[in-house]
């Protein structure tokens, strides 16, 4: 029996967290939630989830961007896949900085409202890639020891 993969949802919208959390739980993921960046960071450090879903506009409209920087400063979380899920581009149309242009240290940006099928597909892909990377590292370690 394998340990269920864990997903941390950092979002101040309880409806979103409940809906997406339910979707992920029904697909076999263990789900944790936090309603702001600070709590989310603390929980991420403790639980070291396999995937993080991160909102941007929470207590402040750029909070998620700052939280993402803090997540990446934690050595154990540097390679944890993060999907930024936000409506900032529709809410702040002046902010036209392409999230895929390499400035955002996230694995993926998905606009809200999120497509459930796409979310599940990307979650499985990113978690699978992380697991493969860890397995490769273990293999290299055992060869070089």
């Amino acid at each position: 029996m394998t340990t269920p993969r864990s997903v941390l949802i950092i979002d101040d919208d309880p409806d979103f967290a409940q809906a997406v959390g339910g979707l992920l739980a029904s697909s076999g993921y263990e789900v944790m939630t936090a309603s702001n960046g600070r709590d989310g960071l603390d929980l991420a450090k403790k639980a070291q989830p396999d995937l993080i879903l991160l909102d941007v506009m929470m207590t402040e409209r750029t909070e998620g961007f700052f939280t993402l920087q803090q997540i990446r400063r934690v050595p154990a979380l540097q390679h944890t896949p993060v999907i930024v899920v936000s409506s900032i581009y529709t809410d702040q149309p002046v902010f036209r900085v392409n999230p895929d242009a390499g400035w955002l240290p996230a694995s993926l940006f998905l606009p809200k409202p999120v497509d459930p099928a796409r979310l599940l597909q990307e979650a499985a892909r990113l978690i699978g890639e992380l697991a493969q990377t860890k397995a490769d590292q273990r293999h290299v370690g055992s060869v070089t020891r």
Partner: protein, 373 residues
């Protein structure tokens, strides 16, 4: 130079893009003061801070710096690469940028170039911002209230907008990346900038006359003022620690007992410390507090002028704000000029009783850029 503007309400969005260029450091509250640190939220950043406790120097010459490791079995391992980590220093006042420009002369342009300093300097983007001077600032007197180099972007307050001077191609890269947030300024914006620039300059209430200070220091080398200051000074070194341009450091090799492996470490030093001029054999060239505080003033206001053409003081006011004995550099300059007594009260030049003949080249050894290293 490219000039743009952005609404103030968009600054948080602009700041969100900056991590693409490096770790962002900005002025945030720390205790009763402000410090350049990494904000956890944009709301922690204060664009209207008066001055930080420590100057940006701490990010280029860290208070304690591991330089390299050595080990007989593993060899030499440099930590220079870590010094090259990209960073963005956001919200730096003009006088602090001026301070970095002065440090550049010593560590990046002089005969003894420091690779650690240069790596940090080259990999740090500087974004400046205007300051409304308070009673402690006298940067206007030091010609450090405005900078024309040393920054990548500089933000000037226009009320609802920031006017943005693009100082380098690196600054232009940032602008290009976050282009939608910027607008072309209008003629009215330029008029508003000029109006605010004039009023900001007029707002410097504390002023000191620097014109012939090196010459007056030459005349006052044996002044009783130094003894008065020495009696007051606690030699705590606070003024050096908070100074944007003090750069003395100490170097030590640290190794565990019984081990031949270790690390080379350099730490901030201060010419106010009793051991600063202590050499092998026990001789101390400046064993009195008066001689040490005099050295500090001569190095900054006279020696540096001879070596680099300007004093190394930028008028930030940190030394006066941090001195537990209440020694204020602006008062000291007035005392030396015979314009004030130790309490800052106005007096006449005749009140200095200890005028003695001036030595031919007093303290000539003080001007070397590595003095105290």
């Amino acid at each position: 130079m490219k000039i743009l503007k952005t609404p103030k309400k968009h600054l948080d969005l602009f700041a969100s893009v900056l991590p693409a260029f490096g770790e962002v450091y900005a002025p945030v509250r720390r205790g009763r003061g402000y410090a350049f640190d990494r904000p956890a939220l944009w709301s922690e950043v204060h664009m209207d801070y008066p001055r930080t406790i420590l100057p940006p120097r701490k990010l280029f010459l860290p208070p304690r710096e591991l330089m390299f490791h050595f080990d007989p079995t593993r060899g030499y391992r440099s930590l220079l690469e870590e010094a090259a980590t990209p960073r963005v220093l956001f919200g730096v006042h003009a006088y602090d940028i001026y301070g970095l420009n002065i440090l550049d002369r010593v560590f990046a342009q002089g005969p003894y170039r420091d690779p650690y300093y240069m790596a940090r300097r080259q990999n740090t983007i500087i974004i400046g911002v205007d300051v409304d001077p308070d009673e402690g600032h006298f940067a206007r007197s030091m010609n450090a209230d405005f900078v024309d180099k040393g920054f990548d972007l500089f933000l000037s307050d226009l009320g609802d907008h920031w006017l943005i001077l693009v100082g380098t191609s690196r600054g232009d890269d940032i602008v290009v990346k976050s282009g939608s947030l910027f607008e072309e300024p209008s003629a009215d914006d330029f008029d508003e900038y000029k109006r605010r620039s004039t009023s900001r300059r007029a707002a410097y209430r504390t002023q000191v006359e620097m014109g012939d200070l090196p010459e007056i220091l030459e005349m006052e080398y044996h002044s009783q003022v130094w003894e008065e200051l020495g009696a007051k000074c606690l030699s705590c070194g606070s003024c050096s620690m908070v100074c944007p341009t003090c750069y003395c450091f100490d170097v030590a090799d640290e190794a565990a007992l019984g081990s031949r492996a270790g690390s080379r470490v350099r730490t901030w030093d201060s010419c106010l410390f009793k051991t600063h001029a202590l050499v092998a054999g026990g001789e101390n060239f400046r064993h009195t507090r008066a001689s040490r505080i005099k050295f500090r003033f001569y190095h900054k206001q006279r020696g540096f002028v001879a070596e680099y053409g300007r004093p190394s003081c930028v008028g930030c006011g940190r030394c006066a704000a941090s001195c537990p004995a209440g020694i204020d550099i602006t008062t000291v300059i007035k005392m030396i000029r015979g314009q004030a007594d130790a309490h800052g009260d106005r007096t006449t030049p005749a009140s200095n009783p200890a005028r003695e003949p001036v030595p031919a080249a007093p303290g000539a050894h003080l001007v070397h850029p590595t003095a105290g290293v």
